[in-house]
């Protein structure tokens, strides 16, 4: 359950947030700042973060949206903030 929640949280992270957390985890574990049991959890989280970062990097959309100059009447969706003219 907690693991599932963790995964959902990681999926929401931006690349910058994910790699930032990853670096923190690596540093903490390397410096021995956390208990053994926690280091296992953190290791799993770190691996999930690495996977998330790789997933982001693999997504190569190579497309250019176009920002329209007019204010949209409806607020755009999260994923596609503005209507596209060409992909």
């Amino acid at each position: 359950m907690a693991e599932r929640k963790n995964k959902d949280e990681i999926a929401k992270l931006t690349f910058e947030q994910a790699i930032g957390q990853l670096r923190e985890i690596v540093t903490r574990i390397e410096q021995g700042q956390i208990a053994l049991q926690d280091s296992l959890d953190q290791y799993e989280k770190g691996m999930a973060l690495i996977k998330h970062c790789r997933d982001i990097l693999q997504k190569a959309e190579k497309r250019i949206e176009k920002i329209s100059k007019e204010e949209p009447t409806e607020p755009p969706e999260e994923e596609d903030p503005e209507p596209l003219l060409r992909g």
Binding site: E16, I19, L22, L36, Y43, L57, I64, K69, P75, P81
Partner: protein, 456 residues
């Protein structure tokens, strides 16, 4: 020597010399000189006069431009500005320095645009628009990049390719703007303001503003003040990507970062995916390695602990304590025995002490002594009684001899006057007719009456 000098040369005052030089200069130089040079040490005095120097690679010429002449200059002279000046040389007698008194000044070697550019740069620089302290940091891993350029220009694809080749995992959003011609600067400025205003929805991490190379006239929009101010006001970091070979644009100077051509935009805007993947791999290696070594260390420690005596013979502590209890039990028994032995010994000692006193003999001796004392005291009492008896008898005898009645037995009597109750000792003790009584030895009494008294 002194006299020689005096005879050889006339003595001038300093002022005379300076005036002389002034006259020589005026007589020998053309009255108007046109000079090309770069302005340096520009000082506009409060009086309105301007003082500066003209310099080239080899030399410096001090200049002054009086207020009336300076009022005719349309542009704003400044240090570093190459100018063509016309004027005449004059020597300022009080200081013995000569100056070019400038009458006219025009920009040299550049058009009006170049001059305007230079002046815009100076103006905005003075306002601090180019200060490093105002530069916003670029995001390391931008997710959404806004591109402000012409939709039809090659710059758009140059920028897009340069970004995507390094970092394909970002989304590009084009805001089409004119990049040339009248109104272009205003349009770009408005676009920047618009994007900033809507960025809570657009979610752009960074903006790239640019176009391909061209002449100074072509690029002019990027030197205009309205665009510079819009770039400065943007909350979203802006990368200026205007193609140019030598000079920069005002937009370059005010932007948070700049590249000399749109094809290089990606280098500044985004990290290289290969580098990041390598970094990720390193992070993974470090993570795995450190967790593994951590577990290795912990396991080693565990083995050390398991090898300790406690784990080899878990009953050892109990056994140790049992032994301890046994030892204590023994000690307790010993101690109790000792206590009993001492007590017994004390009783025995006391008994022997008592036995040594021989009470029955003591009692016997006491009885003998008591009997003896009893006898002695009885004898003493008897003796004392006897003595008292003898004493009493003697006293009795003496007392008996003193009894008047014993006198009577020898024939005497006692006469008593009944009237007075007195024993009659003399004739005066009685009167005629006094009843008298005479007591005899046999204790009988003879009563009589005095009938006469013979007084001899």
């Amino acid at each position: 020597m002194q006299s020689q000098t005096q005879t050889k040369t006339k003595v001038y005052t300093v002022a005379q010399v300076n005036s002389l030089v002034r006259d020589v200069l005026a007589a020998n130089l053309p009255s108007w000189l046109t000079i090309t040079g770069e302005i340096t040490d520009w000082k506009a005095h409060q009086s309105g006069h301007c003082y500066f120097s003209l310099k080239d690679e080899e030399s410096v010429l001090p200049c002054a431009m009086w207020r009336t002449s300076f009022a005719k200059v349309k542009f704003k002279p400044a240090n570093g500005l190459a100018v063509l000046v016309t004027g005449s040389i004059d020597l300022y007698v009080p200081q013995g320095r000569y100056k070019l008194i400038v009458d006219e000044m025009i920009p040299a070697g550049m058009g009006a645009l170049q001059l305007a550019f230079e002046q815009m740069v100076r103006k905005l620089e003075a306002e601090g628009l180019f200060d490093e302290s105002h530069k916003k940091p670029l995001p390391r891993y931008p997710q959404r990049i806004g591109i402000l350029t012409s939709e039809s220009g090659a710059a758009l694809h140059d920028i897009a390719d340069s970004v995507h080749n390094r970092w394909p995992c970002t989304r590009l959003a084009l805001y089409p703007v004119p990049v040339q011609g009248p109104g272009a600067a205003e349009a770009i400025a408005a676009a920047i303001a618009d994007v900033n205003r809507r960025n809570d929805r657009l979610k752009l991490d960074v903006l790239i503003v640019g176009r391909g190379g061209g002449s100074l006239e072509d690029l002019w929009a990027f030197n205009e003040e309205v665009l510079a101010r819009a770039i400065f006001a943007s909350r979203i970091p802006i990368i200026s990507a205007v193609g140019h070979e030598v000079d920069v644009t005002v937009a370059d100077l005010v932007a948070d970062a700049r590249v000399s051509t749109p094809t290089k935009a990606g280098v500044v805007a985004v990290p290289d995916r290969g580098d990041v993947l390598t970094d990720l791999m390193n992070q993974q290696r470090r993570l795995t390695g450190s967790v593994r070594s951590r577990f290795g260390l912990c396991n080693e420690y565990l083995q050390t602990v398991l090898a300790s005596a406690v784990f080899r013979n878990p009953l050892l502590p109990i056994q140790n304590r049992e032994q301890c209890v046994d030892d204590l039990c023994g000690d307790l028994g010993d101690a109790m025995r000792q206590v009993f032995f001492q007590a017994h010994k004390q009783v025995q000692d006391s008994y022997e002490q008592v036995a040594r006193l021989e009470p029955h003999r003591l009692l016997g001796r006491m009885m003998v002594e008591l009997n003896e004392l009893k006898g002695r005291s009885l004898a003493a009492v008897t003796q004392a009684l006897n003595r008292r008896d003898l004493q009493i008898t003697a006293q009795e005898n003496r007392l008996a001899g003193l009894n008047p009645r014993s006198v009577l037995r020898r024939g005497y009597s006692i006469t008593q006057n009944l009237r007075t109750g007195q024993v009659v000792r003399t004739a005066g003790d009685v009167q005629i007719d006094d009843p008298i009584v005479t007591e005899l030895a046999d204790e009988h009494r003879i009563e009589s009456r005095v009938t006469g008294i013979d007084k001899g």
